[in-house]
């Protein structure tokens, strides 16, 4: 890790599939803010080359929609070894934050502390609209992401 390492925020989702775009939107709003101490990436889905950004980050925050949450949750990603992560690997469409972090560890021997910011989501139809629940949750998630950024910048 270099002295210039910055916290990295990765917003995930498809903004044309309703609530699926929640993570993308929160990260986009974050990047439009004033916090230049953060690096913010918005992606449709996680892909292997993101490991290069992770490899040079001080901390990482994945922001994503989740059908399993009732409210916005910020939780650390437990450090995993390659063997454990292999069980969840599906490199391509189904790559997960855990797999990316494990990749950073085995490829570059650098696995910065990482968190997931999960936004409750329920509607996945075509269109850019968020459901009421998710739109409200996005506002809260943005505040939490900003606080996370201030805490690690």
């Amino acid at each position: 890790m270099t002295e210039a390492a910055r916290p990295l925020v990765i917003g995930i989702g498809n903004v044309l599939r309703g609530d699926d775009g929640a993570g993308y939107r929160v990260a986009e709003a974050l990047s439009n803010g004033i916090n230049h101490c953060l690096e913010v990436i918005t992606v449709h889905q996680l892909t292997p080359e993101l490991v290069l950004y992770i490899g040079s980050a001080s901390h990482v925050l994945f922001v994503d929609a989740s059908v399993e949450q009732m409210w916005v949750v910020l939780k650390p990603i437990a450090a995993q070894n390659a063997t454990t992560s292999s069980a969840a690997v599906g490199v391509g469409h189904t790559i997960t934050p855990n797999v990316l972090m494990a990749l950073a560890q085995v490829l570059y021997h650098h696995c910065p502390p990482a968190w997931e910011l999960l936004i409750p989501a329920q509607h996945w139809g075509h269109g850019p609209q968020l459901s009421g629940l998710t739109a409200e949750a996005c506002s809260q998630a943005l505040l939490m992401a900003k606080a996370w950024g201030h805490g690690h910048a």
């Binding site: 892909t47 290069l52 490199v91 469409h93 494990a102 990749l103 075509h126």
Partner: protein
Amino acid sequence: MSASRIIQIDPVTRIEGHAKISIHLDGAGRVKIARFHVTEYRGFEKFCEGRPFTEMAAITARICGICPVSHLLTAAHTGDKILSVAIPPAAEKLRRLMNLAQITQSHALSFFHLSSPDFLLGWNSDPLRRNIFGLIAANPELARSGIRLRQFGQGVIETLGGRKIHAAWAVPGGVRTPLTLENRDAIRAGLPEAFRVVEQGLNVFKQLLDHQLQEELTVFGHFPSLFMGLVGHGDRWEHTNGVSCQGLRVMNSDGQILADAVQEDDYADFLAEAVQPWSYLKFPYYRPLGPETGGYRVGPLARLNLCERIGTERADRELQDMRQRGGRVVTASFLYHLARLIEILACLEQMEVLLDDPEICSSHVRASAEVNCLEAVGVSEAPRGTLFHHYRVDSNGLIQKVNLIIATGQNNGAMNRTITQIAQHYLTPAETQATRLDEALLNRIEAGIRCYDPCLSCSTHAAGFMPLQVRLFSNSGELLEERARA
């Protein structure tokens, strides 16, 4: 006589999207047929109706996170035709540059991360290891190189279009921003390493083909079929329908050209799509030959079969090597992997040529016009094959109807033939009586699908028409219930 049994493998891992496979045995326990079921439904075409055609590039680029650039460029090209403009030469070259980068990064993901574990770890390897972590353990440098090559392609795309590629850099009439001299030089600086990586991949894969991957050439989708794709003037390899392109070509396995210089506007005259009740994905075919014998393959192998030459030195040398291995028209789908590596090499060489072109940094990159045409078809070569966009608009430019024919759909028939061939070869009647399938067989079947690198995120469409079939099986594989709806 025993009842027929159906064995399902669900889901297929490491391809984009979701699908399942069923293997149907006859009464004697022999494989009758295998089917690749696509059950994910997308329906973006309906969603596009009523939107301005100028937004189509931005909308369709969001269909898929794996090949957004292909939709972006094809939508922009289709929009050019609605405007009835000839785009500035620099814009065409910049679009070509972006498509070359897209093919590079997509093929890098397919070869180095999705398929290499199959080749390097062996068919009998534990599925928990037969993935990128297993690859890293076996060949860490290859894994790192693959990531760097993919990042190079992504980096070129971001340099041209900005990180938010979905913001639609390519627009009807050209592109939004020119390439600066500084950015041109930055792209150029990344080429030497990219060349090293792809040549490393070629060396590794050709050694495998020479030794442990011989049988795969004859079993993993080795059959005659048609091939379709764009061809450039002088019978060169082509990926973009611009001034250097002569049109679409259809060729059979004997090398006979059935249709040539076909223009994209005429696609409906020579392509048709069959529907099967067990898949959302349609089965396109060459209309003059009908659905039974008109099946064709698209993508890297098809493009290399259709052209006489690529037009760059190193890639042409590798093309000749591939033809020595598989014949003038290569019918072994396993060599899609080799074709991808050769195409990466071709992309890098053509990038080099484009970056040396003084016109590439011209500031004139966009033509303007009003709606001058109410219907247009655009085609380009996506990494996985030929991509068609067909729009009908009203006089205000609002979309009335959209049809998208994507590459994965066009390889649907070939994927089904491939898994049938693999299952028939490796699943003997004695094995089918067992309650547990051999992992090696399942690995091979999945790998047969991965030859085509399918991306199903955008493959399924035709809102409101797609039939759905639901089957319920007992643990022993007996069919208990079947329900279908249209």
